[in-house]
């Protein structure tokens, strides 16, 4: 049982001796365990924004996993004679500059964006937890060195560094480029999450149960893994959810600039770039991938916001 639940169980009114506890026990009411997670879930359940963003996230994930469910057309089936043709029976939103179905390309583009977002968020989380834990737990010179490293990495503007890094990768193979983009985003984006983990580790380190564990003879590793890590994860998870949204936006930006994913990978950023170049002829090839991208990024960010507000005890 994690320490949250232990504390919450101790606060259970039926367990505590006193008038309130005895009354409840006498009345025979079942004692309810109120933990932070339980309260947060209750708040989340009643928040419409949480459900809307969760639905959007589920929708985008379904689009990424099973694009065939959303469109019957092949996004690679491009016929130049259909260039910039308007909406018709076969294509809801018409055709783009190359004569490909705009809607089909947008649906299939969800896969690349979601893969990059999830993988880079996972990698970022891994790096941030390790680094933040080391900095927060050991303190002193380890903390000083890591904080200076964080300052240096933060000193480099994300877009500039990503451009410089990605320019070194000359291969055009889709899998290589996806891995490169994931790696670059994680290497440049771990700092915020690491700072959050570091501050929650520092506050968790002061708790009594850590001192008790140390007195019982637990080594550093055990304390970090069993006691501090579960209690410092919550703020990190919130930051990572929001970071997922911004990683999707960053990938689209890099593809827009031409240095992220490249053809034949289907990405919203590439479509937005082509759509923008020809927006005077037809606005739909620009509008459709833009809307998909905006809704996806907003969904993740709102989800992270809703979870953070639910877990924040100061807002009660």
């Amino acid at each position: 049982m994690s320490d949250f639940e232990t504390v919450a169980a101790m606060e259970n009114p039926a367990a505590r001796p006193g008038p309130a506890g005895e009354q409840d026990a006498a009345a025979g009411k079942p004692a309810k365990v109120r933990s932070l997670a339980g309260d947060a879930w209750r708040d989340l359940r009643r928040n419409p924004i949480f459900w809307i963003s969760l639905t959007l996230v589920a929708l985008v994930s379904a689009m990424a996993a099973f694009p065939g469910l959303f469109t019957a057309n092949d996004p690679q089936d491009c016929v130049l004679s259909r260039q910039h043709a308007g909406p018709s029976g076969g294509a809801i939103f018409g055709y783009d500059f190359q004569g490909c179905d705009t809607y089909a390309r947008a649906v299939y583009g969800a896969r690349a964006s979601l893969i990059v977002g999830v993988c880079s968020a996972a990698l970022t989380g891994l790096i941030a937890i390790v680094v933040g834990m080391l900095a927060g737990y050991f303190g002193h010179w380890v903390d000083a060195v890591i904080s200076r490293v964080i300052d240096v990495v933060l000193g480099i503007p994300l877009l500039l560094a990503a451009i410089v890094l990605l320019k070194r990768i000359s291969s055009d193979a889709p899998s290589v480029r996806i891995m490169a983009v994931v790696f670059v985003l994680a290497v440049l984006g771990w700092t915020t999450a690491a700072r959050v983990v570091r501050s929650s580790v520092i506050s968790a380190k002061e708790q009594d149960y850590v001192a008790a564990a140390r007195m019982l003879g637990a080594g550093n590793g055990r304390i970090m893994w069993r006691h501090i890590l579960p209690n410092s994860l919550a703020p990190a998870v919130v930051v990572l959810t929001i970071a997922l949204g911004s990683f999707i936006a960053a990938e689209a930006t890099l593809s827009f600039l031409g240095i992220g994913l490249k053809a034949p990978t289907i990405s919203w950023g590439i479509d937005i770039n082509t759509g923008r170049a020809h927006m005077r002829e037809s606005a739909l090839p620009l509008a459709v991938p833009s809307t998909f991208l905006a809704l996806t990024v907003l969904a993740f960010i709102m989800l992270g916001d809703a979870i953070r507000d639910a877990f924040d005890p100061k807002l009660r």
Binding site: R148, L160, R168, T253, G258, R276, A294, V297
Partner: protein
């Protein structure tokens, strides 16, 4: 206070060397044959090769040679000589041509962010939970969430192409009016963050004890807000805006690209596309210096405004 400044200066120097080394390494380490890359498709005679090797100090190989070239570069940088780009044009010239445009753009953006963001944030902070508060929250969420590559072309299409309130692109030597739309687009992101920051700050300050004391002393509401609350809640906002100015100077690459503005970001991106190593390293070094200096100024300003920071 003095020790604080000294400590920050040392941190800045360290960060400067770290960042420039990383950028320099990324652009120049591992290049196969930079002299051939310079010449492009044409063959290079041995005499030309010898001259260029001498000029760019390429005769020293290995890690030793790399650091020799790096320190040579830093020495030149600190003397103000940024070198030449691969096209032969002096980087100092490119920078001085591109700088005024980016500076104008950044000033418009910061102006928009300060005027609209801070004032709307103060009002939203004072009236928490009202319709104004909720609607500004939703709007800022949209601006923060929707990426620039969606917002900038959308603004360009709606206000430049469709309704034609502004010129769609800026072009070389743009007028103030032509820079207005890209400035607003650029500033909207800073505006959203400044608004949220001000709102939280003001709301927290309003719950403080000194506000309660002031109210119970009978001070007018307006005086409480303008003299007591604002002074304390604007501190994080000022520091944010200072950092943001440094950020904006780093060339809003997307906005400058979309609106075709020949600023620093645009030149930087062009340099990366054409693999112009000296140009990229030169521009990024200058931008990093500006970013670090603006951070330093903001930190010192923060220490001046908030005495609690000085003694840590």
């Amino acid at each position: 206070m003095f020790r604080y400044i000294v400590r920050r200066l040392l941190q800045m120097v360290l960060a400067f060397f770290g960042t420039t080394l990383i950028v320099y390494a990324l652009m120049f380490a591992g290049q196969n044959d930079p002299i051939q890359a310079l010449a492009g498709e044409r063959p290079v005679t041995p005499a030309q090769r010898a001259y260029l090797t001498e000029k760019f100090h390429l005769d020293k190989t290995g890690v030793d040679g790399f650091f020799y070239r790096y320190f040579d570069y830093i020495k030149n940088l600190l003397q103000g000589d940024l070198g030449e780009s691969l096209t032969g044009r002096s980087i100092g010239d490119i920078l001085s041509a591109a700088w005024p445009v980016t500076a104008k753009l950044a000033l418009i953006a910061i102006g928009v962010a300060v005027i609209f963001g801070v004032s709307a944030g103060v009002i939203a902070g004072m009236r928490r939970g009202s319709i104004f508060d909720n609607s500004t929250l939703v709007l800022t969420l949209l601006v923060l969430g929707v990426p620039t590559i969606v917002l900038a072309p959308l603004a360009q299409y709606l206000f430049g192409v469709k309704w034609q309130w502004f010129p769609a692109t800026a072009g070389s030597d743009p007028s103030f009016y032509a820079l207005l739309l890209p400035g607003i687009v650029l500033g909207s992101l800073s505006l959203a963050t400044a608004l949220r920051l001000t709102r939280t700050s003001v709301a927290e300050s309003l719950r403080a004890d000194y506000v309660r004391t002031a109210k119970s002393k009978g001070l007018k509401h307006r005086r409480i807000i303008s003299v007591h609350v604002l002074r304390n809640s604007l501190i994080p906002v000022i520091t944010f805006l200072g950092v943001e100015l440094g950020n904006l100077m780093s060339g809003a690459i997307i906005t400058e690209g979309v609106f075709n503005i020949p600023g620093v970001g645009f030149n930087l991106f062009r340099g990366i596309q054409t693999e112009d190593g000296p140009l990229v390293v030169g521009l990024v070094s200058v931008l990093v210096i500006i970013y670090l200096i603006s951070n330093l100024i903001v930190d010192i300003l923060y220490a001046v405004l908030d005495p609690r920071i000085r003694y840590e």
